[in-house]
Symmetry: C2
Subunit: 351 residues, 2 copies
């Protein structure tokens, strides 16, 4: 279960709070700040927020009680009181922004996708390894209590041998510029597909590549991928079929079938708060947000923030739950899926 405070030997002083810097004043950064505020202030403290537009950074600083606002990411990188930076910029900026902070020896939690291609993901991972600085891709899913419960059922063999993973994550996002535009690395795969692929990787592949990946889909008129099903075949007859779409409303559920039983996340496979096991619904409620959220269940970003703190307190340079090698693998799978459907990105069609 979730440990609310890092373990420490009795009699020692409490470890200091983890001091967060926030890179960008976009919608997801807002939600991340709200999520941080659901955690004890003696453990998590947002100390600075930076945006290209200083006034937006100032708005966020005021709203969320952050001490310092910067009009450039470079200033944030130079702030000596920042331990770790949350990078919440648009997809094509994840690489340059992450490199900026890694070079300043700041730990980084970067929103998914870690890069818009495997080449970018590898460059970021290499930079982190070389610098010996913590880097993690923000697959928050893996830190939700509902996910941990599902994972524990799998690991203790409650389902027998896991065989089939099937789910669909879809939102009507055609009107959202960020998702629609090739120049912003839009498309259903880069926006939603990573969630599906990381789930298959965690549950069926356990970090190993699939034997085969097949993607079938159709494109938006802009050239980005609109609806895509990725089928993954793993060793031992294990198969995942995950559909993502920016053109439909769906509950976002996923079901994992084993030889002895199944477990289902009825909605929001990317940020689950409930699951169904042996016909019974188990609920893992989120703390209420202090401010309205932009995205569903966003106070659940607290769990990945807690995990990052735990890693940093242990002196780790990468997460054992979401390691860099798996981010690289997921980026490779994403490249291949986008290539197969002919998706167009900032540099033309996918590699």
């Amino acid at each position: 279960m979730e440990t609310m405070t890092p373990q420490k030997p009795s009699g020692t002083t409490c470890p200091p709070p983890t001091r967060w810097g926030i890179c960008s004043a976009g919608k997801i950064s807002h939600d991340f700040l709200v999520a941080l505020r659901t955690l004890p202030a003696e453990e998590h403290l947002a100390v600075a927020v930076a945006a290209r537009d200083l006034s937006r950074a100032q708005q966020y600083a005021q709203l969320h009680g952050v001490a310092r606002a910067y009009g450039s990411y470079e200033e944030l990188a130079r702030d000596p009181e920042v331990d770790v930076v949350y990078v919440g910029t648009v997809n094509p900026q994840h690489l340059p922004d992450t490199l900026l902070f890694l070079r300043a020896r700041k730990a980084v939690l970067v929103e998914k996708p870690m890069g818009i291609s495997a080449r970018e993901a590898k460059e970021m991972a290499a930079a982190a390894r070389e610098a010996g600085v913590f880097l993690m891709e923000g697959f928050w899913t893996r830190f939700f209590p509902a996910w941990k419960r599902l994972k524990a059922l799998v690991d203790e063999g409650a389902l027998g041998e896991c065989r089939v993973l099937q789910g669909a994550l879809a939102f009507p996002l055609r009107s959202v510029e960020r998702v629609r535009e090739p120049s912003l690395a839009g498309g259903a795969l880069l926006d939603l597909g990573g969630y599906a692929l990381q789930m298959a990787s965690a549950l069926l592949g356990r970090g190993c590549p699939p034997l085969r990946l097949r993607a079938e889909g159709c494109l938006h008129p802009s050239g980005v991928d609109e609806t895509v099903t990725v089928t993954l075949q793993y060793e031992g007859g294990k198969q995942a079929a995950m559909t993502v779409s920016m053109d439909a409303k769906m509950p976002g559920g996923v079901v994992l079938g084993g030889t002895r039983g199944w477990v289902e996340i009825p909605s929001h496979l990317n940020c689950p708060t409930e699951l169904i096991w042996e016909g019974k619904r188990e609920v893992f409620p989120l703390p209420p947000p202090a401010e309205p959220l932009n995205f569903p269940n966003s106070t659940g970003l607290r769990y990945e923030a807690q995990h990052v703190r735990e890693c940093l307190l242990k002196g780790l340079t990468e997460s054992p739950v979401m390691p860099l090698a798996e981010s690289e693998l997921i980026a490779e799978m994403m490249d291949e899926a986008r290539r197969q459907v002919g998706a167009v990105g900032p540099g033309g069609t996918a590699p």
Copy 2:
């Protein structure tokens, strides 16, 4: 909604009962007989049951109150009081048995798959058309009240434009000889796949072929297909991804996502008794069976029996809901899917 009695002008006499002959004394025939008994006897009457083994036919006749038992299908075909034959034999027998009854000018309701290949399905459809005799493949799904409710929501545009269909039907059937053996035309696709494909055909294709069909899967050591995902791309960016498996337990649910909303069948997509629409569960309970059933929800076979009666009373030679051309199309899709995964059937690999 379901009409329990065929419409007739007031003042006329009631139409006579539909007199059913049952071909085979297997598990599904048992369930079909139980289902018939949930309907008014003045409308549906099982008058004869035939099996290769007379004693089994006699057992069924006694258990279900059927007047005559035969030790051969030929005798059933000659029974002048049989209006329509339910063919519940194993998959490779569907063709010869159906042809036998069609040639005897008996209407036929044949269990799915109509044939074990498109060639067989076409031969059966041609024989029915030539004889001018009613033939329908037993896709009972399409006659369930829950399915009709879902279809009505789609047809009235409640979901907006339908875009994504995704579901998985899976049972641990590796130990079942009928499903495991190539000689019996086993495999997940022929056993379960038709349900998935007919659903995509009804909801997205509306009887038209998909633009593309892609199948990805793995084989059982016997050579039959074990777990398969079929992805179907239809005109207008509509996509279905349906997984079937004989090697996992899954709830068997399906979700249809449109541009404005989604509707979900949480379990048993092949014989649904509930659906979720706008977050609310709607339940369509089945009548209780008079005898224990072999398969889930089998009293729901009553709905297809009612539909057959309605067709016969109208003098139709095929069903407008499950027409022969669509059975041929589904058989072609099944052939293609089995060919792509390299499934082995009675005559070697799929055509």
